[in-house]
Symmetry: C2
Subunit: 321 residues, 2 copies
């Protein structure tokens, strides 16, 4: 079969002829028609995780055909029995297991779901990893309620955009931040009330004067900016954090946290229940993932470069022909 | 009536003859027999809060007599309708309202509860503020479960000790920290499995090798030490923070928070439901508050000095004769 191979850390990806996977008991072969990139794929290629094994076919997100049905794949493998957190055997599809950047992938049958009827393969492939991450952070962890006010940092990334779309569909009012005025404009076109540019010195004061206070914040940056979030929150607020691109958090005030009864929820990926609930919500609200660009499989290195430079607004998709 | 008066910020407390309070509609006069100190009282005397009004009779904790019954007082006034957080009208008894360091205090009738039969007035007076703070942090916010492993920092303070006693009674395994070997020894005598001295450089490594990982951490320090807590946690752990004596938190890793799905819950005081649940638990498990020392009302300045220097192990009580 045709597959994208990561030969080793910091090497270019190659489109190769690769043996088809042979599914174990309880697994099935899905014929992938579209796949999507995640930051995880880029981090793996750059060797930014411990325990990376190569060569590997990357890719956590995929949609395609199985058993005569249009399907998409839940990339969470072996979550374990505790809904609070994934167990020690947890893995994400696409390293160490071969992933979705190939014509065929072997996945557990229970991870195969019907593709929402209103989505193309390209749109459906954009959903799984980022969608379930946004869902868990927003609803399972931060318990977002209709009518609440939400602040989503770093709009443009896949998780942030799904968080925005889900929050809007749930009846929340959404504000965003970005380092790009263009991305803020695109977000408001999609339904966000307003946005602030975090490169401006007093972005937090600007935001407070626009929005008042927030009930839920979804952040993937951490760093020194994170310490400004509790002051922007209403009492009883929840802050979900699913990434840390700006590094360690400094200057966080305990007094603001405890006096306002704020909760900070670390969140990553989601379990089978999160995935099923997310998929039902996407069907119910006919949510269409925002796609930045679709690349042919052969242009996978260009796709990675675009993700690496954080130029995208929405998901970067690979067409697997 | 005889009352302790704080004439102004940074002034000595005085025992004075003060007019008896005149209860408004829905309020009642309680004849106080014992009261207890909290850090809040010392912070008020030192002017460490905004909006302090003096002269005032301090004191949030009191037990005594009302309507022929032995009673104790819930010090939370006007929590409001949201169980998640106190509203803008919330006040704690004892500034701006005159408090419990007097023979008589006027409080809402709904804040008056039966004193547990197994407790003396001195023991009961030790319970309200610290007890409800520990209860909310441990159960309402951090959802402690039987069999879980708990780490409580700064053992010796009232809230920390109640958290320890409640956690033990709930069937948890408790570890503690302190800057004093004597306090650690006292805590283990009361049922803690072990403790570490946070003045020792590798206290966190020592703790990890003793205890493995924690499901719940209760902290009142914040500061740089707080950043070490997530690494000591199991996946799905909850960290409750109800104080910030060591100041702002620096060096907190987003990656550990999200990968382990850790929640940090700011928590302060408690609402009427928290108080009632706490009181029922104290009755059910016949919990006896740890009293450091009982002072006569006339020695109130000595009592404040002992609290200020953090010498105590357990609650500092005033006898109101």
């Amino acid at each position: 079969m045709k597959a994208v191979l990561l030969p080793g850390i910091n090497e270019s990806l190659q489109v190769v002829d690769h043996p088809e996977p042979r599914p174990d008991e309880g697994f099935a072969l899905v014929r992938i028609r579209a796949a999507a990139l995640n930051h995880r794929d880029v981090y793996i290629a750059q060797g930014q995780y411990a325990g990376i094994s190569t060569p590997v076919i990357p890719g956590s997100d995929g949609a395609g055909e199985w058993d005569g049905r249009r399907v998409l794949i839940d990339p969470s493998l072996n979550w374990g029995s505790d809904p609070r957190a994934q167990g020690a055997q947890y893995r994400i599809l696409g390293m160490p297991d071969n992933g979705t950047f190939a014509q065929w992938v072997s996945v557990p049958v229970e991870n195969i779901h019907d593709c929402p009827a209103h989505l193309s393969f390209e749109q459906a492939a954009a959903l799984p990893l980022a969608g379930v991450t946004a869902w868990r952070a927003l609803f399972t962890r931060c318990n977002l309620q209709k009518g609440e006010k939400v602040f989503i940092t770093g709009i443009g990334g896949g998780v942030a955009l799904f968080a925005m779309q889900f929050a809007l569909a749930a009846g929340a009012e959404v504000y965003v931040s970005s380092g790009s005025a263009e991305k803020i404009a695109k977000a408001t076109a999609l339904g966000a009330t307003a946005g602030v540019n975090y490169r401006e010195e007093n972005w937090d004061k600007t935001l407070r004067s626009m929005a008042g206070g927030f009930d839920v914040v979804i952040d993937s940056a951490g760093g020194d900016g994170f310490a400004k979030l509790p002051a922007l929150c209403n009492s009883g607020a929840r802050i979900g954090i699913y990434g840390g691109t700006m590094g360690k958090v400094n200057g966080l005030s305990p007094q603001i946290l405890f006096w306002k009864q704020i909760s900070i929820h670390g969140s990553t990926m989601g379990n089978a229940a999160d995935f099923a609930a997310m998929l039902q919500f996407v069907n119910q609200h006919r949510i269409i993932p925002v796609i930045d660009r679709v690349f042919e499989m052969e242009a996978v290195n260009d796709a990675y470069a675009r993700m690496h430079h954080s130029e995208q607004f929405g998901k970067i998709v690979l067409r697997i022909s």
